[in-house]
């Protein structure tokens, strides 16, 4: 006898759409509020420019001594941040950040030299090695920011066009809205927890966009298949049935991917921290949004058309060529 999580579920997903809407709204609005009024969008050195130096000490660093060492050498406007593992265990490492003014296109290397000299001559608690230096000038930061954003927008348009071609425009729109919803909430989570968005985090966000899109298409494909075979059932019922039929795959696939990502979050080390955090949040939200955002949008669109007196049936799209 085989193991099965869900044999036949019969949940009225669409009946819960107001709860879903509430849930999505709360998290989106919280995130947006935090972006607007609280932490903003915490941008890493990649995007805002500046100098960031990761220093590893042989023994646990004394932050006060570090500050004194820097002050004595005349290094200004620095921040010191202890690095910790995802488990919360403090590492013997700090990240020293300097504002953008230290990394102008003319005097690029000034900040790094300042910090290095300050530590070499004024910090005597233990030996240290500089593990990582990132210096991003204002021009590069802005370009990276613009370019990452445009690449993402173009790829969303590409997906929309493909879905339009394979299904119908409204499917593509619903899928893109769902993905946008996921990105918004994930970025919101970074803002709420005040974690920096770096280029690696952007890669994670691209991953979650791909994943969420994948999830949505699985549900849409089933809706299309069911619409083609049962023309007398209402769209509401077809969508509910499709979600229920794919539920077991949704839970298993998402669960397994979540497992991979969680293992990355727990064992992947500090460098991958922000990256895996985005994925942990993203996989959960991405799975949720296919059921709670994308599918209800299809039904809402049809209801809206009915109200306006248009033809009631949602076209099923070109029949799948299997």
């Amino acid at each position: 006898m085989s193991l099965e999580l869900f044999r036949t579920t019969n949940i009225d997903w669409l009946g819960k759409k107001w709860y879903f809407l509430g849930f999505s709204l709360i998290f989106s609005v919280l995130g947006v509020l935090s972006m607007l009024f609280w932490h903003g969008i915490p941008r890493g050195v990649d995007f805002k420019g500046g100098t960031q130096i990761r220093v590893a000490f042989d023994q646990a660093p004394n932050e006060d001594h570090l500050r004194q060492a820097m002050d004595k050498a005349g290094v200004k406007d620095f921040t010191i941040q202890r690095v910790s593992d995802p488990s919360g265990h403090a590492a013997n490492k700090v990240i020293i950040s300097l504002p953008q003014s230290t990394a102008t296109d003319q005097s690029h290397d000034q900040g790094r030299q300042g910090v290095e000299n300050a530590l070499t001559s004024n910090y005597h608690d233990s030996a240290f090695t500089i593990e990582q230096v990132e210096i991003v000038g204002p021009t590069a930061g802005l370009e990276l920011q613009k370019q990452a954003a445009w690449a993402t927008v173009y790829s969303l348009i590409g997906m929309l066009v493909y879905l339009w071609f394979r299904f119908e425009l409204i499917y593509g729109v619903a899928a893109v809205v769902a993905v946008f919803h996921d990105t918004l909430i994930t970025v919101g989570a970074f803002s709420l927890t005040n974690q920096e968005i770096t280029l690696t985090v952007i890669a994670a966000i691209l991953t979650l966009i791909g994943y969420s899109m994948n999830d949505t298409i699985v549900v849409f494909d089933r809706i299309r298949e069911n619409l083609a075979t049962s023309r007398r059932e209402s769209l509401h019922d077809v969508v509910n049935r499709s979600i229920n039929q794919t539920l077991s795959r949704t839970v298993i696939s998402s669960g397994l991917t979540f497992l991979t990502v969680l293992s990355l979050y727990l064992f992947g080390g500090e460098v991958l921290h922000g990256f895996s955090f985005a994925l942990v949040v993203g996989i959960l939200i991405g799975t949720y949004s296919s059921i709670a955002v994308a599918a209800p949008m299809l039904v809402a669109y049809q209801d809206w058309r009915v109200k306006r007196g248009k033809i009631a049936s949602l076209p099923a799209g070109k029949r799948a060529k299997a």
């Binding site: 193991l3 590069a140 173009y154 890669a203 991979t260 992947g268 460098v271 994925l279």
Partner: protein, 534 residues
């Protein structure tokens, strides 16, 4: 096993072998070494320095027009045109040369010179008080492209001569006129940065006046006017001396491209210096100049050696020099070494500024790889065990497919010489996620068909058929987005797109073709109506 199956099996084994070859190549040394040779790791994983520079190509326009001003003056002199003023009057338009004050009688001659082949790069126009030459947009573009390419060549040469292995110097796609320099294994970029950035514009100029204490003093000594053919340059004639200002002739006697060779050396007092050789043509020119101004001549003079717009040495001309000499600029041995290297590789045609510097120390990179691999293996093992427990026999299919998927993905990277970066690992994770998902989709569908009372063979057939539509849709959508990210992205975004695209193609093959084959093979050995382990 049927003939058809055997053929397909052979294909799969073939693919496996080919891609294993892609990963390890022809193995010699340990397995680890072989893989290391084939799979390029990004600097974020193996440690090194990543630099993005911008070349100020516009400067090349200015120096070209400077040279052409000189040429026009020479040509006018030859043609007997006197009284004309040739120069660049508008700071904001370095591409425009103004010619004024040509006597009316000579205007025709002047025009025909300027419209000749020598100045075909310019649009010649008549203005109220003379003639203007403006460099053609096409010529400017050519010049800028050439400047960028020369800069890349020069930097590559310098980095190579420094002995950095597998360094990469290439145009960078993010903005115009940017260069990406990747230096594996270099975690202290200070010296490399200096060597790359130093334009090493070395030139020797005739000294007209000086040294003066500062600019004001220099101006005062010249009644507040700097002659048109002269310029003020700061610097110090001996190391450690306070900075002074000299009035030098604007046009150099010899400069960057005139140097044929340069070697670090020491003078008789053991101080580091640089011995240089000039090209024959430049040697002749230099001989003419130095013999005209040597200490025994009627007009003794001194010359200033200017490096990157700073005076490094001022020396009286003792005797005529032809094609070899030495520079004692108060250098340290290291500076003498670096400077000779730069002189040998040629000067950069324009100045350079750094936009981005990223350095990852080897320990951090190694830790990232180690932790990343541990995490990936832990995640994959968990997934594989779950698939076995949940889908029994079919779980083996999924695990095999997943394994093969990874082999193909890494093999692809080995063959194409792509680089695995941290964001690339993100692409691998999405690939694994979608690979597992494809299997789950198929299995769940087969279970569904079985529940509706179909035989094992029919259920497998229908399951694959229905799941295939979905799998193609999800994969094509994601491949479309990966392609777009590759086209419009750079650096990390590209790294992600590359592994994702490779992984998805591998997925389509393994989930659809390989997994299906295993099912068919099992079904063939079973009696009709026997249960399927799923």
């Amino acid at each position: 096993m049927g003939k058809n199956l055997a053929g397909k099996l052979a294909l799969i084994v073939g693919v496996l072998v080919v891609f294993c070859f892609g990963i390890v190549g022809i193995p010699h040394g340990g397995l680890k070494e072989s893989i290391k040779r084939r799979i390029n790791l990004g600097l974020d994983l193996k440690g090194g320095t990543h630099l993005v520079l911008e070349v100020h190509v516009a400067e090349a326009v200015g120096s070209t027009t400077d040279r052409d001003v000189q040429r026009i003056e020479d040509d006018f002199q030859k043609a007997g045109i006197t009284g004309a003023t040739v120069g660049k009057t508008d700071q904001a338009h370095p591409e425009t040369i103004m010619v004024t004050g040509v006597p009316a009688a000579k205007l025709g001659d002047a025009r025909s010179i300027l419209q000749g082949n020598d100045y075909s790069n310019y649009d010649v126009a008549t203005t109220a008080d003379g003639v203007s030459l403006t460099m053609k947009p096409g010529a400017i573009r050519d010049l800028e492209t050439r400047t960028l390419n020369t800069s890349i060549e020069t930097i590559r040469d310098r980095v190579d001569k420094l002995g950095v292995a597998e360094a990469q110097v290439a145009p960078y796609g993010l903005g115009a006129n940017q260069i990406l320099v990747e230096l594996p294994g270099v975690s202290d970029p200070g010296r490399v940065e200096d060597i790359i950035q130093s334009t090493a514009k070395l030139s020797i100029h005739e000294v007209i006046g000086g040294p003066f204490e500062n600019d004001q003093a220099a101006m005062a000594a010249n009644n507040g006017v700097i002659p048109a053919d002269a310029m003020l340059v700061r610097g110090s004639a001996t190391s450690g001396a306070p900075e002074s200002v000299w009035l030098l002739k604007r046009v150099s006697e010899v400069e960057g491209t005139d140097f044929r060779d340069a070697q670090p050396s020491q003078d008789q007092n053991g101080r580091p210096n640089i011995r240089f050789n000039l090209t024959t043509e430049a040697g002749d020119r230099f001989y003419k100049y130095t013999s005209a101004h040597s200490s025994t001549s009627s007009t003794p003079g001194s010359m200033a050696i200017v490096l990157d717009n700073k005076v490094r040495e001022v020396a009286g001309i003792q005797s005529a020099i032809r094609d070899s000499g030495e520079i004692t600029g108060g250098f340290t041995q290291q500076q003498a070494n670096d400077l000779s290297l730069m002189l040998r590789t040629g000067a950069l045609p324009a100045t350079i500024s750094f936009l981005e510097t990223r350095t990852v120390g080897p320990s951090l990179g190694a830790a990232s790889i180690h932790q990343g691999i541990v995490a990936a293996i832990a995640g994959m093992l968990a997934v594989m065990v779950f698939m076995l427990v949940y889908y029994h026999g079919a779980g083996i299919n999924a695990d095999l497919a997943l394994f093969l998927n990874l082999v193909i993905l890494l093999g692809f990277m080995g063959f194409t010489g792509s680089t695995l970066t941290l964001p690339g690992i993100a692409g691998v994770i999405l690939t694994i996620g979608m690979g597992v998902d494809s299997n789950v989709l198929i299995f769940e569908r087969i279970r569904e068909e079985l529940r509706s009372g179909k035989t094992a063979a029919a259920a497998v057939d229908q399951g694959f058929k229905h799941a295939l539509t979905t799998i193609i849709d999800t994969h094509v959508t994601t491949i479309v987005s990966a392609l777009i990210l590759f086209l419009f992205g750079t650096g990390p975004v590209r790294g992600f797109a590359v592994t994702l695209a490779f992984g998805l193609f591998a997925n389509l093959f393994t989930a659809v073709f390989v997994s299906r084959l295993i099912f068919d093979a099992i079904l063939q050995n079973k009696e009709r109506g026997a249960a399927l382990s799923i």
